[in-house]
Symmetry: C2
Subunit: 134 residues, 2 copies
Amino acid sequence: MTDDRTMTIREMCDAFDVTPRTLRFYEAKELLFPIREGQKRLFTKRDRARLKLILRGKRFGFSLEEIRQLLDLYHMGDQQQTQLARTYEIAQQRLSDMEAQRDELTQAIDELKEQMRWGEKMLASMDQTKKAAE
Amino acid sequence: MTDDRTMTIREMCDAFDVTPRTLRFYEAKELLFPIREGQKRLFTKRDRARLKLILRGKRFGFSLEEIRQLLDLYHMGDQQQTQLARTYEIAQQRLSDMEAQRDELTQAIDELKEQMRWGEKMLASMDQTKKAAE
DNA sequence: CGTATGAGTTACGTCAACGTAAATTCCCAT
DNA sequence: ATGGGAATTTACGTTGACGTAACTCATACG
């Protein structure tokens, strides 16, 4: 039993730096499943784990729908055996996409660095010009 | 002189697999500057180079506005000395963002791979179960 | 008991990056 | 001359991921 206490929407917002609107939106899209104590939402440890993954997924440019797929894979404790193979394929595809993207990104970084060495030289020569003008 | 012949919008679309709408949109957003022969647009080698960079930028999840900034850096032959330093900063920021993203991506790939080994085991055990059932 | 505070619902607004449809306009071959 | 194919302009439509009112409901507090 680590820390299974539930959190209010405000605590979640503060903890993850998101708005209430966002959390309700994610619930509507079935990315989160806070329990309903009467009127209020209570976010469990599971919701926190999922939100963490959602936010990371977003930083990689995944759509919420894609993230939902991955979350289903992550949190598939059992059953859905039929779906599993299919989801597994999706994950494989996603994985190779990600690797390709990483490689392109690496290349782009190198190119951009190269381009910036350019800028350095220009700035340096500008500096010279400026000094000469004084 | 390599290949400086201009291209029509259709040739561009075929060459880069984009729609005319996209090219006109990019022109409106000042990402491309085809010359206007009367009514028609004629795309130069410069436009082709820029479009190539635009499409690559998009694959990295940059917005068109961000791409426009980077293109300005790329194609800044001279002048705009004042702006250069600022744009240089933007590029630096962008670069560190990209590196951070690459690192996160690398980590996520590893985690996803790990998760998938999970799936493999599940599939394997399911296979056993299936065989046993025959 | 009144009210201020926080959560909730409903529903319209927004921004990016185009898609799509309608109405010209231009060029050319029959 | 004319009909057919491109290309153009204008402008409204679309999708994703929320933002932003407007209004209601519940409750803790002085």
